[in-house]
């Protein structure tokens, strides 16, 4: 059976075959294989064990080194040794004399005296008296000194098993003389199966990390191995060119209209009050027409409208003209009608389209920006998008509008739709559309049939079904936004994090 081995495994096994029946440590294998990185040996060793070509042993070993005080003792002499020498060489061995000498630091006096006493030195009448057998103490102290020197001899520390147990226990009890580290040491031993792997199998192959054109132009790659990567690791995410999510939403809505056989129309932001409002039978004293709701223009302050149309609107507003309506009563100013403004709804496009095509059955739609005199805050902007669709044909009726709306919203992904009565000055009947969005009813648009005061002066004799909705509210819901400003003054990190809709 062929054994699949990678290069490090091959090299490691080859080394181990050279001297069977022995344990190999990581550092020995590093040495022989010339791999600098111990992790390669550990990885290869693990691979060999898995393939039963080697057995592995893990030992936890303790290494001892000198601690802070140990280092000091090793260079300046052990505290008790220094004291002992002082006792032997001084004439005055009183405590007082010790304290005035510079043999020990003040804070070490207490510990030193304790150590001396434990060696058999007594304190009588304030003086240190050595015991009879002085050589015994000297040899104990020399042994201690030798122990510390031995530990200091190895940079990575000395294995606990190599140390004198009594000495170790003695120094373990003394503060900061020694420190230790636990290390796992691994060793491997070749198995019989490992010994039987033929040298040919152990021939190493070229290992390829990055694939370069030069490499692929030659043949060497054919017998080479490709270094496997850790596919679970994350890489850098590249900067990508994406649409703004609101634009994507617009595109989806455009597609729905086009699928449903609607034709797209557009129009200018700059309009007259007449087309934006008077044509839609919005009375000239309607609150929405006031300065605080609508942006009027200083350039162009007014835009002329054909007097025939103005006269028609005037009679409709004042007394219903010949539509059979009572009209709004009061006066109608042609000057007000010719005032320039920024369109407040896309319905102005629609009504202009009807005026140009009053009797051609149609289904048209428009998506565009509209303007309201609003201060900017979390939920308001002075401009936003409106979506509007109309159906004009003989026999158009309210159920046709409701059915079309339901199809439209179903295509958007909201199959549950309900309608309620509503009010708009230019539609009758009027309705409000609500859809079920993630379990709750949500108002998502208005609709209705254009009033005769709107359509009849344009020469249009078929009912015009219309509906519209704002885009930003839906965009905020879909994107989970609580601040509408993010859509227009976007944080680029936020935009980057958005899905493509």
């Amino acid at each position: 059976m062929a054994v699949e081995l990678n290069n490090p495994e091959k090299r490691m096994l080859k080394i181990m075959q050279s001297e069977n029946d022995r344990d190999w440590t990581v550092s020995e294998l590093c040495d022989k294989t010339k791999f600098d990185d111990q992790a390669i040996i550990v990885g290869a060793g693990q691979g060999l064990v898995e393939k039963e070509l080697a057995t592995g042993t893990e030992n936890e070993k303790t290494f001892w080194k000198l601690g802070k005080e140990g280092v000091k003792a090793n260079s300046n002499g052990l505290l008790e040794m220094n004291l002992w020498e002082w006792v032997l060489s001084s004439e005055d061995t009183s405590m007082k004399s010790l304290q005035s000498s510079n043999i020990v630091e003040k804070h070490e006096v207490g510990i030193g005296v304790g150590l001396l006493k434990s060696l058999g030195v007594t304190l009588e009448g304030g003086c240190f008296i050595p015991p009879e057998n002085k050589e015994n103490i000297t040899s104990i102290l020399l042994e201690r000194k030798g122990f510390l020197e031995f530990i200091n001899s190895s940079e990575q520390g000395v294995l606990e098993s190599e140390l004198n147990n009594d000495m170790l226990n003695h120094f373990k009890n003394r503060k900061n003389l020694l420190t230790y580290t636990d290390e796992i040491t691994r060793t491997w031993k070749i198995t019989k199966k490992g010994l039987n792997i033929s040298p040919k199998t152990l021939e190493e192959k070229m290992m390829i990390a990055e694939i370069t054109p030069e490499l692929l132009q030659g043949d060497s790659w054919k017998n080479a191995e490709f270094k496997p990567y850790d596919v679970s690791l994350e890489s850098n995410t590249p900067l990508s060119g994406k649409p703004h999510p609101m634009q994507s939403l617009i595109e989806r809505i455009r597609s729905i209209f086009l699928e449903m056989g609607f034709t797209e129309i557009d129009g200018d932001y700059v309009q007259t009050a007449g087309w934006n409002m008077d044509a839609l039978f919005i009375p000239q004293d309607h609150p929405a027409r006031e300065m605080q709701d609508t942006f009027y223009l200083s350039n162009p302050e007014s835009i002329p409208i054909d007097d025939e149309i103005l006269t028609q609107w005037k009679s409709i507003h004042e007394h219903g003209g010949d539509t059979g309506s009572l009209g709004w009563g009061g006066g109608f100013s042609k000057d007000i009608a010719q005032k320039g403004l920024l369109r407040t709804h896309t319905t102005v496009n629609t009504v202009k389209y009807i005026s140009e095509n009053p009797n051609k059955p149609c289904r048209v739609f428009g998506i565009g920006r509209v303007f309201r005199n609003e201060s900017i805050d979390r939920t308001h902007l002075p401009e936003f998008h409106q979506i509007e669709g109309i159906i004009m044909e003989p026999g158009a009726n309210l159920p046709m509008l409701v059915t079309t709306l339901k199809t439209f919203y179903e295509k958007m992904g909201y199959p549950e739709v309900r309608v309620r009565p509503a009010y708009f000055p230019y539609t009758e009947p009027s309705l409000e559309i609500e859809v079920k969005w993630r379990g709750q009813w949500l108002e998502l648009g208005g609709a209705g049939i254009f009033r005769p005061e709107v359509t009849e002066p344009l020469g249009c004799s078929s009912p015009v079904l219309a509906w519209g909705m704002g885009l930003e509210r839906l965009a905020m819901l879909v994107l989970g936004l609580d601040d509408i400003r993010q859509l227009y003054i976007s944080d680029l990190e936020w935009l980057k994090s958005q899905p493509v809709l």
Partner: protein, 586 residues
């Protein structure tokens, strides 16, 4: 939209007078009549009233409409009115001052059991009046209402005009004030003086003692103020619009009648010396052809269905009759009656100001019947939909920009002179559309180019990492017409003009200029023109027509936007470019 808020206990008191067991939960369904319940808690309810339903602006009037709509009671489209025997003479001089003047008396109103209830009642009446002033009265220009303590008055009444020196004690004042002073100093006078602008005679309603009831539409006299003891009321409505005045008067009377008041009429000798009796409580008889109803709602209605639907909406179905022989042969308008039509006769309350046309009756029946019970229908005309002519071009262009790794952004159309012109050194102020009533200095005109908005966006993103590669494709307004532009900006430590030039080349190739051998060239911009660095900015010409500009942004310009990174970019006039290139599929 106006909002009303009141206690359940108040409405309960009104409804129990009409034998209704009050249910606050049922009230949640009132929305379908033409309003929207905003809040309905233990004690109070808040309802937003649609602007056309001025007949729902108070607890009593809302209760009146809800009785047939929610509680299946028979609708009462009329008011019961007896004569008070009181008269009001209007001087001829009112013709040009405030010609419409109506009045009524309501006696024995149950204003409440205790002081708290009475205070609440007075507040309700004042709120109702203010809401009517706003909706029907159009801020008192079409109609204004005065409500007075009848006990303080001595009938009969006169309406005269005075000069500006005429003095009386106005509401909530201790001393007399002249008309002139009221108009210039009294808060109400200041608010409404514009309604009497240019007049030298002023309307004044006075009683037998020559005491002033009211100086319409400005303020009442002090002594007629409604007090806690007031049970009998005198109401005047003055203005210019007879329908608005009539509806306002009826709705105030209806509110007081819902609290047990008995309405009495006043005989008016108007400014044209005609005698009229107000208020007129009789319903208005409307006619609607079955043809309009059925074509609009896509459904035939039985008489039973009509009776039920119309009753719910507060009216009465009277019957169906044939169209007269003299009717038209072909209908051109929704209101036309033609031979063969059936005419549906309906009585609706006179205070339904919103019924202007038979189409409004169609909606009444649709609501009364239920929008969701009308059935389904689909459009019949075979039509193929099509996108805007420019849609393929803009789609292709967007694909190119995104392929170049640019993030699309959208910014506001509203901008200002500094950003559009001064800060970027494009001097085109004369082509800008400017606002007459801007609310902030940041938004005074419409953008003529997209690039300044992109600079603003980069400025707002200074804290984010580079490179930043953004584009916008959208509408600008030049000479008051919408134009489609595209712009990109790249803020990056590397790249510069060469990168931008390369990107432009890619775009031009992908938009098929190379394929059709359409020539384009770049000409260095003159110094100080546009946002570009000297020697690193160019105008782009296609077939010798300018389609945009490209370059590295001058650091002086960047500084105007508080930016200090290298930026290069483009402004392209897509409408112009589209005219000059060919569609590779055509």
């Amino acid at each position: 939209m106006p909002t009303i808020r009141f206690n359940h206990s108040d409405l309960n008191k009104i409804q129990s007078r009409f034998g209704i067991k009050y249910s606050k939960n049922l009230l949640n369904e009132i929305g379908d009549i033409g309003c929207s319940v905003e809040e309905n808690n233990e004690n109070e309810i808040e309802i937003e009233i649609f602007p056309d339903r001025a007949d729902l602006l108070s607890p009593g009037t809302l209760a009146h409409a809800s009785r047939p709509f929610l509680h299946n009671q028979d609708a009462v489209p009329n008011l019961e009115i007896e004569s008070s025997g009181i008269s009001l003479d209007v001087d001829e001089s009112l013709k040009d001052v405030r010609p419409v003047i109506y009045a009524a008396v309501v006696r024995n109103v149950n204003t409440g059991e205790n002081e708290e209830e009475i205070n609440e009642f007075i507040q309700t009446i004042m709120d109702h009046q203010e809401k009517l002033h706003f909706s029907l009265g159009k801020r008192r220009s079409k109609a204004s209402i005065g409500v007075h303590d009848f006990a303080e008055l001595k009938p009969n009444f006169k309406v005269i005009t005075t000069n500006e020196d005429f003095e009386f004690i106005p509401l909530a004042m201790d001393n007399t004030l002249s008309v002139k002073k009221i108009l210039s100093e009294h808060p109400k006078g200041v608010d409404y003086a514009h309604l009497l602008e240019g007049m030298n005679r002023f309307p004044m309603i006075i009683d037998q003692n020559n005491s002033v009831l009211s100086f319409p539409p400005i303020i009442n006299g002090n002594h007629t103020t409604v007090k806690n003891s007031t049970k009998d009321f005198f109401i005047d409505v003055t203005g210019w619009d007879p329908r608005a005045c009539e509806c306002s008067l009826l709705l105030v009377c209806l509110e007081l009648a819902s609290r047990g008041g008995k309405i009495e009429s006043v005989e008016i000798n108007d400014c044209n010396n005609q005698k009229i009796i107000t208020p007129n409580g009789k319903p208005i008889k409307h006619e609607l052809t079955n043809r309009l109803l059925e074509s609009m709602l896509g459904k035939k209605f039985t008489e039973e269905e009509l009776t039920k639907a119309i009753n719910r909406m507060g009216g009465k179905f009277l019957g169906i009759k044939d169209a007269p022989e003299s009717s038209l042969e072909i209908a051109n308008k929704m209101s036309d009656v033609i031979i063969g039509d059936k005419i549906i006769e309906i009585e609706m309350p006179r205070w339904r100001f919103d019924i202007l046309h038979p189409i409004d009756l169609v909606e009444e029946i649709a609501i009364g019947h239920g929008y969701e019970s009308l059935g389904t229908d689909v459009p019949k005309t075979p039509l193929a939909g099509s996108a805007l002519n420019s849609s393929n071009f803009t789609r292709r262009f967007t694909t190119c920009l995104q392929g170049l790794g640019l993030q699309q952004i959208t910014s506001l159309t509203l901008s200002n002179e500094n950003d559009q012109f001064n800060n970027v050194r494009w001097n085109e102020k004369e082509i800008a559309t400017t606002l007459a009533n801007p609310i902030t200095v940041d938004h005074t005109l419409l953008r003529t180019n997209l690039l300044p908005g992109l600079l603003r966006l980069l400025s707002a993103n200074k804290h984010n990492e580079l490179p930043q590669r953004v584009y916008e494709l959208g509408q600008v307004v030049r000479n008051h017409s919408n134009k489609t532009h595209a712009s990109w900006l790249i803020a990056s430590p590397t790249g510069g003009f060469a990168e931008g030039r390369g990107m432009l080349q890619a775009i031009m190739r992908d938009m098929a200029l190379d394929k059709f051998n359409i020539n384009y060239e770049l000409k260095e911009t003159s110094e100080g023109h546009g946002p570009w660095l000297k020697g690193r900015g160019a105008e782009i010409y296609v077939s010798n027509i300018k389609v945009g500009e490209i370059g590295e942004i001058d650091p002086h310009v960047s500084k105007n936007f508080d930016l200090n990174v290298p930026i290069h970019g483009v402004e392209l006039y897509l409408d112009t470019l589209m005219e000059l290139v060919q569609d590779p599929v055509h």
